[in-house]
């Protein structure tokens, strides 16, 4: 982990907040970050984890919905820019290179011997100049539209023509060329190590090549040193000290470079490298989805109580499995036109319903943090918090205990939710009796309706879908082909009743007739 001045992250005018957006920035009290459990329920934990591991300061930014449409638009533009691999490439390389350099500088600062520390610093300075120059060259001719990215490029352009950067460049080259003129020898004899100038001692390796080359018929596999890169050790430091003593002028100049070159990495570069990871890992995932022919959209944000909906929305986890093993992706659409607020999803087991609920929630959260969404198009209302209630595989032994736990969690959920919230309820009350599930479900739907939150409610109780008013019925149907596919399309229509269950039973040889024949004496 690289220690970074986390206080600088997310300042207005960076990559995460627009310069003029500061006035409408939400306070922490307005919104609530996603819990670990909700992140896991949504399957977003794995999307964010790589970035958070390297840049822990991004954790809250990924979890907390943003209530400011200007900021969301600002981020969407940057994300859209980085969706182009030609744009993303230089930024990705910059982050990777500077991170490696930061780790190296940390290690360098701990080297106790001055000559070795200075020498490492020179190498780091050379690398830093190289990395900045590479980025500057690469980004100069790339077409950038996002205001945030253009600002970043302009800052780097200003940096490289600045007096400090140019002086660093010149002095680094001069010190290097002085050091490169020094050839020294190390003689090892028993426990004695002797350092001297190289005179005319012949190259023994060349002699070996000349003598044994006659047997050679092919290029040999190189034998590489297995020892890890030497460096911070005492012996190397003492050897270098002796070399330095034999060449005082060159090494004095090296020391000066070290003392005057701190800090090496300019804040302009450091800030960029701290904020970019918010987009880079996520956008590489969306690029791959796009390359696999799956739609990716930058949603339009509207007020929390306006009409909203999505076309061809799909679960990110399923999309990613398609990339790895070609799994079929079924995309679904939905709409909520006022006064509709609640989608009740019923229908066939095994697939579709949970995925649909997860996609609904992903769509809202990703839209609210300014990232693209897995859908063809979407209009999304802003929200203040997103709560999930998925069935838990807990070690709860009694059904009563389980129901009690469920109700406690739902109570807490209702208390926190507002009319601007998004609630996802998956297979709620599935462990209780049908009668309990029907009664509790209806009560609960009434309270959600009264609250006015946007809800997806996945349930096996079909009556709940026929409430009308704010409730929209969505049904997971069986695909008509034979054998049935594992994936189901979810459509807006009244629930199926029992016909669908009978058909499934027949197809799997589990109808009453089939079972009778099978068990006939």
């Amino acid at each position: 982990m690289v220690v970074t001045d986390a206080g600088r992250i997310g300042r207005p005018g960076g990559l995460l907040h627009p310069p003029e957006g500061a006035a409408t920035l939400p306070t922490a009290a307005d919104t609530e970050p996603l819990t670990d459990q909700a992140l896991a329920d949504l399957g977003l934990d794995r999307l964010f984890a790589p970035a958070i591991e390297d840049a822990p300061w991004l954790d809250d930014l990924y979890r907390r919905p943003c209530a400011d449409p200007v900021t969301i638009r600002y981020r969407q533009e940057i994300a859209a820019g980085l969706a182009d691999p030609e744009v993303a490439g230089p930024f990705e390389r910059l982050v990777a290179d500077v991170r490696r350099l930061q780790l190296r500088l940390q290690a360098t600062s701990r080297v106790p011997h001055a000559v070795a520390r200075h020498s490492w610093f020179l190498a780091a300075a050379e690398r830093y100049l190289e990395v900045v120059a590479t980025f500057h060259t690469a980004i100069r001719h790339v077409e950038l539209r996002a205001a945030g990215l253009v600002t970043a490029r302009d800052r780097i352009a200003t940096l490289v023509v600045g007096a400090h950067h140019r002086a660093l460049t010149e002095e680094t080259a001069a010190v290097r060329s002085a050091l490169d003129r020094i050839d020294f020898t190390v003689r090892m004899q028993g426990g004695r190590v002797t350092v001297d100038r190289l005179r005319d001692e012949p190259d023994l390796a060349a002699q070996v090549t000349a003598t044994f080359g006659r047997f050679r018929t092919r290029t040999p596999t190189p034998v590489e040193p297995t020892a890890t890169e030497a460096g911070g050790d005492q012996i190397t430091a003492r050897i270098l000290e002796l070399v330095a003593a034999q060449h005082p002028t060159a090494f004095a100049r090296l020391a000066t470079l070290h003392d005057h070159g701190q800090p090496l990495i300019d804040p302009v570069v450091a800030d960029l490298v701290a904020e970019l990871p918010f987009y880079l890992g996520v956008m590489s995932v969306f690029r791959r989805l796009d390359a696999a022919g799956l739609p990716v959209a930058y949603p339009e944000l509207v007020a929390h109580d306006a009409a909203c909906g999505a076309q061809d929305s799909y679960d990110l986890a399923v999309g990613l499995r398609r990339l790895s093993d070609g799994e079929e992706v079924v995309a679904n659409g939905w709409r909520l036109d006022p006064p509709e607020r609640i989608l009740v999803v019923t229908g066939a087991n095994q697939g579709g319903k949970t995925t649909f609920a997860r996609a609904f929630a992903q769509l809202h959260h990703l839209a609210a943090i300014g990232l693209p969404v897995p859908a063809r198009a979407a209009t999304v209302g802003l929200h203040d918090r997103l709560r999930t209630h998925f069935e838990r595989q807990e070690r709860m032994t009694s059904l009563r205990g389980k129901l009690q736990d469920e109700l406690l969690r739902l109570h807490e959920l209702l208390a926190a939710a507002t009319d601007a919230s998004v609630v996802v309820l998956n297979e709620t009350f599935s462990s209780t009796t049908l009668e309990d599930a029907r009664t509790l479900g209806r009560t609960f739907l009434d309270r959600l309706t009264a609250l006015g939150a946007r809800v997806v409610y996945v349930t096996f109780v079909e009556e709940l879908a026929t409430t009308g008013g704010s409730v929209v019925s969505m049904v997971a149907g069986v695909a008509e082909d034979d054998p049935p596919r594992r994936t189901f399309r979810i459509e807006r229509r009244p629930p199926d009743g029992l016909a669908h269950a009978m058909a499934l039973a027949e197809r799997y040889g589990l109808s009453e007739d089939a079972l009778r024949r099978r068990f006939a004496p």
């Binding site: 070795a116 020898t185 090892m188 426990g191 003598t211 044994f212 034998v223 050790d233 270098l240």
Partner: protein, 515 residues
């Protein structure tokens, strides 16, 4: 360095030699090559493996065959030298293998140490080979042997030998190690180069006192490792070079050992056959022409089945073959009339000739065939009739997928597992098609209907041979040109042995008696 005995351009490559393909296994079993290979190996598994590979990868160019015949003839004339070289390499490689153990992915310092040991052993082998080479230098006649001997004598002469030994001694660093470097990026040093310390004047044992030095702290493992890292960098290129040289020298010796193994096998086989009082000769091979336009050539005197000869010795009766111009040879006639023996003799002769070896005959002229395939009726799977035919067809399908114009197919009682009408139709279509495609085909068959149709077609590229039965019922192992006859003599034998009428038995599904 190159061996160049068996091939002019490339040395013998034994990749995949351990795995015989299905048709190669068939060929070995059907032609009795396993007996030949045992005789060649004389108990040495390595010789067995190499000979198997060489026999099954025949040469395809007449000039190359003639070249190798010369190499084999030289080997037969110098059996002690071949055996001594083979043995010297074998024991040397064994010793070198022990020093090489665990070499994989080691760091430069142990690699240098082990490579010095390996090179010392391998140079010693080279020295012994040079001794043998000197002994035969004036008497080998073939150009490849002369070039090979010349190489052994000149590539490492005494002067080079001494230079190598003293350099190997220097690389044990009896008086410490000197290397040069630059500061480089970071504090590791770069461009490490191993150096030869300066001569130290008349007091050569005195220590060079120039420069600034420090003593390594006592019992400091970290310091030892750090200094080791400096040495490793300087030793990297030397380790690469030395282990490369040792690998290449060892590879050369391995290839030489493989080629010598084949020649040793030839010596063993020649000893066995001449020990049994049988003639062998180097055949005259022709080839390199388009098989569809050049007339087939195969004629010889005193041919015999070498596998049978190894089993029963001088009791084997040689025969003659005059099949020039025949693309399709059909052998019919009495059981026990020597039909299968003839087929095996033809096949083995072809295989041996194409390996550049001598052949079991007094005189022989034949054309080269890129590949030899055998399709023999199988004794096993004597289960359902249907299953046997399918097995046969499957085997024939695999052959037909691979066989090319100019190849040789030896078919022994193919399609005997079905009735005569079906079998004949199958055989006729298949064998004439192959013959027309330029494949040389020898068919031993009981399928009279097939033979008769072929005869009536009046093809001038077809030779019919018949196992003759003398009127008194005694059967010499003689095959003569002759039209197929409707009855084979199996009925006689069947009556003799089983005392029942085979015509009655034949109505049941099952295999026919075979010759």
């Amino acid at each position: 360095m190159k061996v160049g005995l068996l091939h002019a351009d490339d040395d013998l490559v034994l990749d995949g030699a351990a795995e015989l393909s299905e048709h190669q296994q068939d060929l070995v079993a059907d032609l009795g090559l396993d007996l030949l290979l045992e005789a060649m190996a004389a108990g040495d598994d390595h010789v067995h493996g190499v000979c198997t590979h060489v026999l099954l990868h025949g040469l395809e160019d007449a000039e190359v065959v003639t070249r190798r015949q010369g190499v084999v003839a030289d080997a037969l004339a110098h059996p002690e030298a071949v055996a001594a070289m083979y043995a010297a390499i074998g024991s040397g490689l064994e010793t070198a293998r022990r020093s090489a153990a665990g070499l994989y992915r080691e760091s430069p310092e142990p690699v240098v140490r082990r490579s010095v040991e390996r090179l010392r052993v391998l140079l010693d082998v080279l020295r012994r080979l040079r001794g043998q080479a000197r002994r035969v230098q004036r008497s080998v006649r073939s150009r490849p042997w002369q070039a090979f001997v010349e190489q052994l004598v000149t590539v490492v002469d005494e002067a080079a030998d001494n230079e190598m030994e003293s350099l190997l001694e220097e690389l044990t660093f009896p008086r410490g190690m000197l290397l040069s470097a630059r500061v480089g990026r970071g504090a590791t040093g770069v461009n490490h180069v191993l150096r030869r310390p300066r001569a130290q004047g008349w007091l050569s044992r005195s220590v060079d006192r120039s420069g600034d030095s420090f003593e390594l702290p006592e019992r400091d493992d970290e310091a030892v490792a750090a200094l080791g890292a400096w040495r490793e960098r300087a030793l990297g290129p030397v380790a690469t070079e030395l282990s490369g040289a040792a690998d290449d020298l060892e590879a050369f010796l391995r290839r030489l050992r493989d080629e010598l193994a084949f020649l040793l096998g030839a010596i063993h086989l020649a000893d066995r056959l001449s020990g049994a009082g049988l003639d062998t000769c180097f055949p005259e091979v022709v080839g390199g022409h388009d098989p569809r336009t050049s007339p087939p050539r195969w004629s010889g005197r005193g041919l015999y089945d070498p596998a049978l000869a190894l089993r029963i010795g001088a009791a084997v009766v040689p025969g003659d073959l005059d099949a020039d111009g025949a693309a399709l040879v059909v052998v019919t006639g009495a059981n026990q009339g020597g039909k299968s023996t003839l087929l095996r003799a033809i096949g083995a002769t072809q295989v041996l000739a194409q390996a550049g070896l001598f052949v079991p005959a007094r005189a022989l002229r034949l054309e080269l065939r890129p590949r030899v395939y055998a399709h023999f009726g199988r004794e096993e799977d004597r289960g359902l009739t249907r299953g046997r035919l399918e097995e046969e067809l499957a085997r024939m399908q695999r052959i037909a997928e691979r066989i090319r114009a100019g190849d040789l197919l030896l078919a022994n009682e193919s399609f005997a597992s079905t009735n005569e009408a079906e079998g004949s139709a199958l055989a006729h279509g298949l064998f004439t098609a192959l013959a027309d495609a330029g494949v040389r085909v020898v068919v031993v068959t009981h399928l009279y209907e097939f033979a008769r149709r072929l005869r009536e077609a009046g093809r001038d590229d077809t030779l019919f041979l018949r196992a003759r039965r003398e009127e008194d019922g005694s059967r010499p192992f003689r095959l003569e040109p002759g039209a197929p006859e409707p009855t084979s003599y199996g009925r006689d034998l069947y009556l003799d042995i089983f005392g029942g009428d085979p015509d009655v038995e034949r109505r049941r599904p099952g295999p026919r008696p075979r010759g």
